[in-house]
């Protein structure tokens, strides 16, 4: 059978980074050719991501059986509105970091390795978004993990070794827990295909075992997503990575965990076990509060931003805990907004380090007078993160908090609002210390200029424009998120697309 358009659209987001990984690994020692390969791959991935979104918007959920083995026996790749949007945004971050990286000072010696590892990471992330099968999801997680190990130690510093030990051990434990859960799910339902599992899970006679498995899976994905009691690997490691690596980690990695949680809860356990809602409630509140307080305590830009990743994950979990279609739509919009803004903030942090010579707020100062554009770009991303109108963060936060009030979860919505204020506090702290205060004695002053300034600030400006675009022209994005939320909550379309008309 000749592969149809849907098959190509689902395979390309995986094939493009795979090819880019192989090519750029073979072309080590020729940095210019490697850059061309990465740039081409990122552009191709953007096009295929956009085409995937367009196709899913037009036709609803699409699925493809690899090798034409019928589901649930073969390997299935599925894209609904949520997954397609995630693939498109992954491509956007891929392009932004690829454009930024060659200009980053920490990169120079490592560039030969950066290109293949970046492609491998994007491969794992895109594969995880499109996987229709629990075991494949596990394999994509591992692809992502091994690439991220490589990227984390890229700088080769002693700090990075320490960080990598903690990152590697804790993440390996989480994936092994995931693997154990995969085995138990197979034992319970006799299938690994997510759509088939969704049909069979309610018929499992031993619902206690089903609950245990659901908990194991949630714990494994939660550790990946860095939620409240399982986040310790993140602040121990992210701040040591070089700026473009930190940006792509901050943007994508934890969100794959959140994606897997949302997919699992909406598709396989939609009725929700009794314990699930209170658990998610506590996890969401704890994640928001602990993350934002951790950020408030620190004086290093990267550490502040790392803790904010954690607190923002909490908002997404709020959407999942409330679990009305509107709440899930809010979580979807939040993830899309957050990936962009967070990656952008880490890229800006790299530029601040270049211009001010340090990540530490004590050693920075006077940046506003020297480079107002850097300040404006930081302000857009930072205020969007805090959720000020008219930026994208406002609409995302608005949907999540409104869903909380609508469903009568007042305490959780209040925690979310308070966390927003504290987020604004840490963003203002960076602003006052790095941009407004007089530079301290003996601070390094490196004027960002010429080509380097364009290369560093160009991708940042592009991502800031997208943030502004979502903020000012929110209607289509909110409509898309609402449609995605409806699709996730009413899961029939997904199951029918994967399993066809079979009873």
């Amino acid at each position: 059978m000749i592969a149809a358009r849907a098959d190509w659209l689902l395979a390309l987001p995986v094939l493009i980074p795979l090819l880019a990984c192989a090519l750029s690994a073979a072309l080590r020692g020729r940095p210019l050719v490697q850059r061309a390969v990465t740039a081409t791959a990122a552009a191709a991935m953007l096009v295929s991501g956009a085409a995937l979104v367009a196709e899913v918007l037009g036709r609803g959920v699409i699925a493809s059986q690899m090798g034409d083995w019928p589901a649930p026996f073969g390997i299935t790749m599925v894209a609904d509105l949520f997954a397609a949007a995630m693939v498109a945004i992954t491509a956007l971050i891929y392009a932004a970091t690829a454009a930024y990286a060659p200009a980053d000072a920490g990169m120079r010696a490592q560039e030969a390795l950066w290109h293949p590892l970046l492609a491998a990471l994007v491969l794992g992330v895109a594969g995880a978004f499109l996987a229709g099968d629990l075991f494949n999801l596990y394999v994509w997680f591992e692809v992502m993990l091994i690439a991220s190990f490589g990227l984390l130690v890229l700088g080769g510093g002693r700090e990075q070794l320490d960080a990598a030990v903690k990152y590697a051990v804790l993440n390996l434990m989480a994936t092994t827990v995931f693997l154990i859960a995969v085995g138990l799910v197979y034992g319970l339902t006799g299938t690994l295909n997510l759509a088939d599992m969704a049909r069979r899970m309610p018929q499992v006679p031993n619902q206690g075992a089903a609950a245990a498995v659901a908990f194991l899976l949630l714990a494994a994905f939660g550790a990946k997503a860095a939620v409240f009691p399982l986040f310790f690997w993140l602040p121990a490691s992210y701040h040591t990575a070089i700026a473009p690596v930190a940006a792509i980690f901050a943007g994508l990695l934890t969100k794959v965990g959140v994606y897997a949680m949302i997919r699992l809860v909406t598709l396989v356990f939609p009725a929700g076990q009794d314990w699930m809602a209170p658990l998610l409630w506590a996890v969401a509140a704890g994640t928001m509060v602990v993350g934002v307080l951790g950020a408030a305590a620190h004086w290093d830009i990267r550490r502040i931003l790392s803790f904010h990743i954690i607190s923002q994950i909490g908002y997404m979990i709020v959407g999942l805990a409330v679990a009305t279609p509107f709440a899930i739509a809010g979580a979807v919009l939040y993830i899309i907004h957050h990936i962009m803004v967070k990656a952008n903030l880490f890229l800006v942090a790299g530029a601040i380090r270049r211009a001010g010579g340090s990540f530490s707020l004590a050693a920075l100062g006077g940046l506003w007078r020297r480079d107002p554009w850097l300040g404006i770009l930081f302000a857009i991303a930072a205020l969007s993160l805090a959720g000020l109108p008219p930026l994208s963060g406002f609409w995302a936060k608005f949907m999540v908090v409104k869903s909380g009030f609508d469903a009568g979860w007042y305490a959780l919505a209040a925690v979310a609002l308070g966390t927003g204020i504290l987020t604004l506090y840490s963003m203002l702290k960076i602003w006052i210390e790095a941009f407004w205060k007089e530079p301290p004695e003996g601070a390094a002053v490196v004027a960002l200029a010429g080509r380097e300034r364009w290369l560093l600030l160009g991708p940042v400006a592009a991502l800031a424009l997208v943030t502004l675009g979502i903020g000012l022209w929110a209607e289509p994005f909110a409509a898309y998120a609402l449609a995605a939320g409806e699709q996730l909550a009413g899961r029939e379309a997904y199951i029918a697309a994967v399993l066809g008309a079979r009873p």
Partner: protein, 133 residues
């Protein structure tokens, strides 16, 4: 057979937990290996262990004969073994590099990325504490 596998699974899990809590990286790595093997046992045990005949469909038949083993868990375990092999190799290299650069294998003593104390409320002191190690 299942009971035996379940007991073995529990034993491996307990040993893995014990080793993972040790303050020595080589022990932690062995703990990760044991944990991975416990996961493999779980998959095998979950996928029916009764059959021993090779899972081949006879010519003309439509389904597997009774008593055939289940090939899927074996394929899953094979994949998982390969992955855990690669990841363990990476962690061992990491431990070796840590030993060479820090001369310690105690994760508690690795404090370059994570300072031992809370950051100071004074930004200057915090920056100095950061730069010190």
């Amino acid at each position: 057979m299942e009971t035996l596998l379940a007991l073995l699974f529990g034993l491996l899990l307990a040993a893995a937990c014990y080793l993972l809590l040790a303050r020595s990286l080589p022990r932690v790595i062995i703990g990760l290996l044991l944990l991975g093997n416990a996961a493999n046992l779980a998959i095998i045990a979950a996928g029916r262990v009764a059959g021993t005949a090779p899972p081949l469909v006879e010519r003309g038949a439509q389904a597997l004969a009774a008593g055939a083993s289940n090939p899927l868990p074996q394929a899953l375990v094979l994949t998982a073994i390969v992955i855990s092999f690669a990841l363990t190799a990476f962690v061992m290299v990491l431990a070796w590099a840590t030993w060479r650069s820090e001369a310690t294998l105690d994760p508690e003593a690795l404090r370059r990325a994570e300072p031992a104390a809370l950051p100071s409320t004074d930004k200057q002191e915090a920056a100095e504490a950061e730069a010190r190690p």
